[in-house]
């Protein structure tokens, strides 16, 4: 890290002294133009830069590496920059409003606060350690520490001349280069790491649905912070890092069926069981106070999800296009399936129902989105819509747990439906397509469920024994907005 700072300082001073403009124009043909652009430069500099440009670095496919700025694909990068923003929008304000509209008015600010605060907290933790633990090789179970504090994630502008100083070789080694992840070799590592951050943000935010209206804010911050490092990062590593045991075994999880939804959903169940039911549940009526907000939230989730699924192609290409198509079709199928099921079973098609059905469809198509064709996606959607309807209604009532906003019923159950059907429907017809194995998918589901539940349970118990998880009954009666945050909505 100290060497890196020295490098940066040297380059910075060079740029100031030379009052530079970029020496190279962006091009996809890296080697030839790099060599010719630097040819007219001062001899010592030309030697240094030409030496590195003559053999353009090939990006590593096993760990992050440095490549030339000109090797970056601007189409892929533009799409991934947009995807990051779309997925961030899914949490703030998508999920915030989706959940916010479903709770009682006295708790809406506290519910919005959970999503917002988690966004901020996880960002910092990801930068410090999460990214490194998830997306560097390490062991099959957890990544290494090479990217702690995002060390090594760099972008260095080209310079017209590298001054002949004793630092010249070190500086020349990075000038005109950008780091890329082995999982996204055509986009800057900054973009890849921030894109993955938005997944690390929404996963814990989803869990909030289980303990809505009764968890202490301080306890929630502790839980989410620890959870993101010892549950989210490892599971992301297992399934997405090529040397992770899941990826190596052939688990198919395109955008996070196991890593995000089953993971969040089973942690949600743990929370619902450990925290217990809300005061007055299920006798007292606790209807949603504003479903308009919930529909706005569900819509933002739907639109943002294209960044989630199509963005997981890490490229602006046909695979992203197919992921987008199957996402849209499965979601619509699921929304209609829930709506018609509810119409049949309960007598009226509700707005909360169709919105929930859409989310269930989005969840289920998530692991499948890069591996299936449109027709199976209809089936995945319908399956999710129907199964999640019963999970969120009959199952919950039968077993009696208070999963307030159905984080388990929709995300865990929907994620399992999607993960298993991915094994059934994965198509070799798609570029990059593979044959799925139901058994492998089952192993991934089981591992996520067991590890996720057990570790979440332990973290919860530890927090409960120290600072306590739940607010007092008086605070719960008065409402979390006033009790925890000193604010209220008229």
């Amino acid at each position: 890290m100290v060497n890196q700072l020295t490098r940066f300082a040297a380059v910075g001073l060079l740029l100031l002294a030379a009052q530079l403009t970029p020496a190279q124009t962006p091009s996809t043909e890296a080697p030839a133009s790099a060599a010719s652009a630097s040819a007219p430069e001062a001899p010592a500099a030309a030697e240094a830069t030409a030496a590195s440009a003559a053999t353009p670095p090939a990006a590593s496919t096993s760990e992050p590496s440095l490549i030339l700025n000109s090797q970056i694909n601007s189409g892929d990068t533009a799409w991934m920059l947009a995807s990051m923003a779309l997925v961030l929008m899914m949490t703030v304000p998508g999920l915030a409003l989706f959940y916010g509209g479903m709770v009682r008015k006295k708790n809406i600010l506290a519910t919005l606060m959970q999503s917002f605060a988690i966004t901020c907290l996880i960002t910092i933790l990801w930068y410090v350690a999460g990214y490194s633990l998830a997306f560097t090789p390490g062991t099959p179970w957890i990544g290494g520490l090479s990217r702690l504090f995002m060390d090594g994630v760099i972008y260095v502008k080209d310079v017209a001349a590298v001054a002949a100083t004793k630092d010249a070789p070190a500086v020349a080694a990075v000038v005109g280069k950008v780091s890329v992840s082995h999982l996204g070799v055509t986009i800057p590592e900054t973009v890849y790491s921030m894109f993955q951050l938005t997944f690390a943000i929404i996963t814990p935010a989803l869990i909030c649905g289980a303990f809505a209206e009764r968890m202490k804010f301080s306890a929630m911050l502790w839980f989410m912070g620890v959870w993101s490092l010892i549950v989210y990062a490892p599971i992301a590593h297992w399934m997405w890092e090529p040397t992770g045991w899941g990826a190596a075994a052939g688990v198919l999880d395109f955008a996070g069926g196991t890593v995000v939804h089953i993971n969040a959903g089973i942690a949600a169940l743990a929370c619902a069981l450990v925290l217990g039911k809300r005061v007055g549940y299920p006798r007292e009526p606790m209807p949603p106070h504003n479903l308009v907000l919930t529909v706005i939230g569900a819509s933002l989730l739907w639109v943002g999800w294209f960044g989630f699924n199509a963005g997981s192609a890490v490229a602006a290409d046909g695979r992203a296009g197919m992921a987008m198509a199957v996402t849209q079709i499965a979601t619509a199928a699921a929304a209609l399936a829930w709506m018609f099921t509810e119409w049949l079973v309960k007598g009226k098609p509700s707005v909360l129902g169709i919105a929930s059905g859409a989310v269930a469809g989005l969840v289920a198509i998530t692991p499948a989105s890069g591996f299936v064709m449109p027709t199976p996606s209809v089936f995945i959607g319908v399956a999710a819509g129907v199964v999640c309807f019963f999970a969120a209604t009959s199952l919950k009532r039968a077993l009696g747990y208070d999963d307030s906003l159905d984080a388990f019923g929709v995300h865990c159950v929907g994620g399992i439906v999607g993960a298993l059907l991915t094994g059934v429907f994965a198509s070799t017809a798609l570029d990059g397509g593979v044959t799925g194995s139901l058994l492998t998918q089952l192993k991934a589901v089981a591992a996520t469920v067991v590890y996720g539940f057990v570790v979440s349970y332990i973290i919860l118990k530890a927090i409960d024994l120290t600072i306590g998880l739940r607010v007092s009954e008086e605070e719960e009666r008065e409402g979390l907005d006033v009790s925890l945050h000193g604010e209220h909505v008229e």
């Binding site: 209807p287 909360l352 129902g353 969120a392 209604t393």
Partner: protein, 112 residues
């Protein structure tokens, strides 16, 4: 003086207000309330959780009137607030012991 309170159907408010104006009522207070009499509430369902909602939205209006006007005010509300169906509401007439206008301090009949 009397305080006349009426709980009426919300969609009847404009009609009743105009009728009261014609009868000579100078001021009115209106509140959005929920209530029930013989009218049944309704059922709501959220993700399978059923709620019986007993209360129905109504409008409650209050007017302080001189004794001479009471009969015509009551008749106006009865005539314009009625639909003939269950849920039309009720009228209550209270004895009023004192009324003051805050701006001037005028009392009783002069304050109405």
């Amino acid at each position: 003086m009397k305080m006349i309170t009426a709980v009426i159907q919300p969609f009847k408010l404009d009609e009743v207000r105009e009728a009261l104006g014609e009868v000579g009522v100078q001021g009115l207070t209106v509140m959005e309330v929920r209530g029930f009499g013989r009218q049944r509430g309704h059922k709501e369902i959220y993700r399978g959780a059923e709620y019986a909602v007993a209360f129905v939205p109504k409008i409650r209006l209050e007017a302080a009137v001189p004794d001479a006007l009471v009969e015509r005010v009551v008749e106006a509300i009865l005539k314009h607030g009625r639909t003939g169906k269950v849920g039309d509401g009720k009228i209550f007439v209270y004895e009023l012991t004192q009324v003051l206008r805050i701006r001037t301090g005028e009392q009783n009949e002069a304050a109405l």
